[in-house]
Amino acid sequence: MVDLEAAGERLATWDAGVVLPPAGDIRRRGGRRRKRRVAARTAGTLAVLACVAAGAWALGSSRSSVAPPTQVGPPGNPVHTPAVAHPVGWTEQEFGLLSYWIPPSPGQCSLGAGPGFPGGYKAMSFGANCNGLGFSPSPGTPIVIKQAAQRPQGRRIVLNTLAAWESHHGPDIVVYDLPRFGVRFELWGRVGAEVGRTIGPSGLDAVLTTPQPVAVPGGWKTVSWGGFSASVPRSWAVTTVHRRPSNVTPRELAKASAEDRRIMEHQCDLFPRAGVYRGAPTWTCQALGYAEVAGGLWLGKDVNPGPRATPFSTSSGATVVARWSPYVGDPSLMGFTVHGGGRTIEGTLLIGPDPVLAEEILSSIRVTGSTGS
C-alpha cells in the first residue's frame, strides 16, 4: 500500500522552488575553504612545533617544570595585548576593541549581514562550517558576533576585566553582551564556551583606555588636519583629497601616455597604497573603495558617529570616539571621531596587517588648535 518506489521517484524529480546557486559559486566556496584548511593545518603544525620547542626549552632549563595547559599573552600583539589566559596553540583574533582566541582547526569565514541581524549590523562567525555573505551562521559555527542588546539583561559578569552581561546560559549556548563595545557574542557548544573565556580587551582598547606617552620613532612624521595631528610613518604619502583628486603620483603621470593620463588625473576611486588622505571626497573624487588600502589613515570625512560610540581620551587631550567600521564584517576598518579644541572631525583607520602600527597612530592623535595643514 505504501509505494515508496514511485514516491521516491516523484520526489527526486520534484522542483522544490529554490533557485540553484551557480556551480561556480559552490566551487569557489569549496576552494576558499580548502585553502583555509591547509593554512589552519600549517598553523597547527607550527603551533605544535612551537609547543615542542618551548617544552624542550623548559625541560632544559628546569627539569622539574611541567608545561602548563594554558599560556598568557603573545603571540598576537607583543606590545599592548593584555594578558589573557588561553589554551596553548590558539591564535588571537582582534575585533576592533575586543580580542578573543580561537583554536587552530576551525576556518574563519562568513561575514554576514541579513534579516537575522537587526539593524543591518555586522555579524561574524568563525568555524569550520561557514556560509558566505548574507547567510545566517551555519550549524557548527562556535562564535557569532552580533549587535549588543540595547538593554542587556541577565547576570553581570567580568570577562577578563571587561564588564559584560551573561544574557543566556544553556546547555548549547552562552550569550554575552558587552554594551560598551556594542557587541554580543553568541557562543555555541564546548568550543564556543572555551572561546568565551578568552574574550578581553584588544591591544587597541588597552592603548585608548590607558593614556601613555606616545613614542614616535625617528622614521615617523606628524600630519595635521582640521585642528588635529597624528603621527604616521614617514614613508606614507599625504594626499589632500580635494586639492589633488587623484591617487596617481606625478611621476606615474609623467610616465603615462596622454590617453592614460586623462583617465589617471581623476583616478581617485581607489587608493591602493598606505597613506594619509585628508579632506572630504568631492564629486570628482568619490573615494569609493578606499578600504582596499592595506593600512592608512583618513582624516576629515563626514562627522557621523555611530550610536554605540564610546569615548576615550588620548594622552594629548583629544577625545577619540572609536566605533565599528560602517562596512559589514570588516574588523580591519575602524571608524573614529575626534573631539577637541571645540572641533570635531571624523576619520577612518585602516588597520591593515600591522595592528601595533594602527594603535600607535590612533593614540598619537592630538589637538593642535590650528586648522591649517
Binding site: L4, E9, L11, A12, D15, A16, G17, L20, G30, N131
Partner: protein
Amino acid sequence: MVDFDDWYEREHPRVLAACRALGGDVDAAAEATSEAFVRAAQRWASVRTMAAPGGWVQVVALNQLRRSLHRRRVERRILPRRGEGVEGPPPPDVDLWRAVAALPERQQRCVVLRYVHDLPEAEIAALLGIARGTVASTLSAAREGLRVRLSQKGHDDDRDGEHIHG
C-alpha cells in the same frame, strides 16, 4: 571523468528535495544542501571516485540539516527575535514524507538513499558504515513503520471526517 558542474546540476535538486521533504523549512534545507555541495567541491578529487557521490552528499546534507534544525529550535526558544523559517510549497506525497521524517534517523536515511537516490543496499551500507543485512532489516522496519503510521493517520482522518460531517 565526472565534471563537478554537471554532477552538481544533476544531483542538487534531488538532495534539496529530500532535505525539504524531511526538514520542512526551505531555508534550512537550502542551507544544508549548499553546505554539503561546498564540502563536495572541497573534496571533489576523492568524492568523484566514490561509487555513489550523490548518496554521500545526501548524507552530508542530512547531517547538516539535523544540526541546523536543532540549532534553530534552540534559537527560537532563547532568541525570540529570530524569524520563523519559510515553509514553501509542500513536496509531493507530503503525508508519506512526514511519516518518513518521524521515523528513526537511520531508517530515514536508508529510505532516502534507497528510494530517492535509487542506490543498491550494498552502497547504502558502505555510505552509512553498516552491514548490508542491517540495511535490509532497517528498510523492512521503515516500511512497516510507515505502514502503521499511515494507516493510523488514515484512521484519524476518517474519524475527523466523521466528526466534521456528523
